[in-house]
């Protein structure tokens, strides 16, 4: 009648280091394929909207300022994003990628979760337009 079969294991643990990870004091390496925050490269985008169409969480919005001159701003709602990577998959021009460095995204305010990607002047133009329209800020949908 064997009892206490785990005896050897628990005795061994007595002299082992606990396996508990001491995050955030000690950070483990994250895998290369980790899907963190989304980044967008405005130079390659053609404005096909495929990323927006298939986003399961409606986290993406492509604002077309000038279709001919390829002036786009990608509005990315990081708080809605479910980090599935479908947009990256959909993009035929490889202008989207998910970072494996930016993944500690928690924040106490809402501002960091709304990201406008694009050329600086385009983003500024958009913000100015929003300010002129008298709305509360970039949080409002146009």
């Amino acid at each position: 009648m064997p009892i206490g079969v785990m005896l050897s294991d628990i005795l061994a643990s007595l002299f082992k280091k606990p396996v508990t990870e001491k995050y955030p004091y000690v950070r483990e390496l994250v895998p290369e394929r980790l899907r963190g925050e989304l980044f967008w490269d405005p130079t390659k985008c053609t404005g096909c909207q495929l990323c927006v169409k298939d986003c399961p969480a409606d986290a993406l919005e492509l604002i077309v300022l000038d279709k001919v001159n390829k002036r786009f701003v990608l509005r990315y709602n990081a708080d809605k994003c479910i980090y599935c990577g479908q947009c990256v998959m959909n993009c035929r021009f490889k202008c989207l990628n998910m970072s494996n460095e930016q993944w500690e995204l928690a924040s106490t305010s809402r501002e960091p979760f709304l990201v406008n990607y694009g050329r600086d002047e385009d983003v500024q133009f958009l913000l100015d337009r929003a300010a002129k329209a008298g709305s509360e800020g970039p949080c409002e949908k146009p």
């Binding site: 206490g4 079969v5 785990m6 895998p31 169409k53 298939d54 399961p56 599935c84 479908q86 494996n100």
Partner: protein, 393 residues
């Protein structure tokens, strides 16, 4: 609470909030002393209305919605769905994609069974086994994270293939992890089959004979522990299972101990299969094109989730969105077995028996559309959203 106790009918409620259940479900056990004389179940505390929501999203978006039915067996839901959609669109994913899907399925099964081993041990008050099995489960979680980039909701599948590839480095780390797990699993097998105190809690507890399991249409490891060789992976092989056949694991006992044995033996089977897939991984493309509009048809897709047979019914109407998606999860099938076997058992065994079928509440609850707040108003999704926005401002 009423200020009196009716002695002849003493009901012990378990849930919706209860330390034994990490997920919300409500059970009422009528007890006499320690012996149970009646049992009822009420689910629906985490209904999210997924079946209805699918009708509002396109075929690609639904993949991620359905993947989130269950956090533990997310990949298998996505697999059932993509196999169904591919059948509707009359395309077949390339062999390499199918093999990688199968590989992730098996890794997920390992993680689910290890998780179950820990939970079941914890329900029996054996916290040491719980801690150890979850510690070792981290190995497979890390493998999945390294492979897909995420610990849960791997999003490996896309319509028509998979997103990720397995290179030699990945394969080597998987082989290494699996070999470590194999050694640990051998040890856990020894613990659950020989430790007298643990066997005292599992042997002849919640026994379900072959005929009973058959009559109640049990699925998955619950059925296989009663000797029913029911496994979709071998009955109706899908994905890469035709090329990589499995041996169906069964046990005779039908009690809790048998369910432990079946699940642990399935772990060994998964290890074997993973090695085999890695050795003979077909070369080729990872994806194939799937049209955005799916022709009108209906299809049934069955896969073997870690908990048992997962059943998808998909109906398309020729548009970008599905007409109807029905999901029947294995937990639903197995509830009947628990409720039928509770009577006559001891209250102390109940948490373990509940855990014994490996219930998944988020799997069982998935169809309600609208949430109810404590204000007792019926709120629409939009109202809730507005409320949430107001609340956080």
């Amino acid at each position: 609470m009423e200020a009196k106790v009716v002695p002849q009918k003493f009901i012990v409620p378990i849930g919706p909030q209860h330390p034994a259940l990490k997920e919300p479900g409500h059970f009422e056990f009528t007890v006499e002393g320690e012996v149970i004389t009646g049992a009822t179940v009420r689910l629906g505390y985490v209904h999210r209305g997924i079946e209805k929501s699918t009708e509002d999203r396109n075929w690609v978006q639904n993949l991620y919605l359905l993947e989130r039915i269950c956090g533990i067996c997310s990949h298998i839901h996505a697999t059932a769905y993509v196999l169904g959609v591919e059948a509707l669109a009359e395309v077949t994913a390339p062999p390499r994609a199918q093999a990688i899907r199968t590989l992730v399925c098996e890794l997920e099964r390992i993680h689910s069974h290890m998780l179950w081993l820990g939970v079941a041990a914890h329900e029996g008050g054996f916290d040491t086994l719980f801690m150890y099995s979850w510690r070792d489960r981290e190995t497979v979680m890390d493998l999945l994270e390294g492979l897909s980039g995420n610990r849960v909701n791997y999003s490996v599948n896309v319509l028509g293939g998979v997103k990720i590839d397995v290179d030699e480095k990945q394969a080597a780390s998987i082989r290494k992890g699996i070999d470590f797990l194999k050694e640990r699993t051998t040890y856990y097998m020894k613990v659950v089959t020989t430790d007298e105190t643990f066997l005292g809690r599992t042997r002849d507890v919640g026994t379900m004979s072959y005929d009973q399991a058959d009559a109640l249409a049990a699925v998955g490891p619950t059925a296989r522990a009663s000797g029913i060789p029911r496994d979709v992976r071998s009955d109706a092989p899908y994905a890469a299972y035709p090329q990589f056949p499995i041996n169906v694991i069964t046990a005779k006992g039908g009690d809790l101990a048998a369910r432990f044995v079946v699940r642990i033996n399935e772990l060994f089977e998964s290890y074997r299969l993973i090695h085999e897939i890695l050795d003979k991984l077909p070369v080729g493309e990872l994806t194939t094109r799937v049209p955005r509009r799916i022709p009108e048809n209906e299809v049934i897709s069955r896969v073997e989730a870690p908990r048992g047979e997962l059943f998808y019914y998909l109906k398309s109407n020729g548009s970008e969105k599905p007409e109807r998606i029905k999901v029947r999860t294995p937990s639903i099938c197995n509830w009947a077995t628990v409720m039928n076997f509770a009577v006559g058992l001891k209250l102390a065994d109940m948490p373990m028996i509940l855990a014994g079928i490996d219930p998944c509440f988020s799997c069982s609850d998935r169809t309600v559309v609208i949430n109810r707040t404590n204000q007792s108003q019926v709120w629409s999704w939009e109202d809730l959203r507005q409320y949430g926005i107001k609340y956080y401002r």
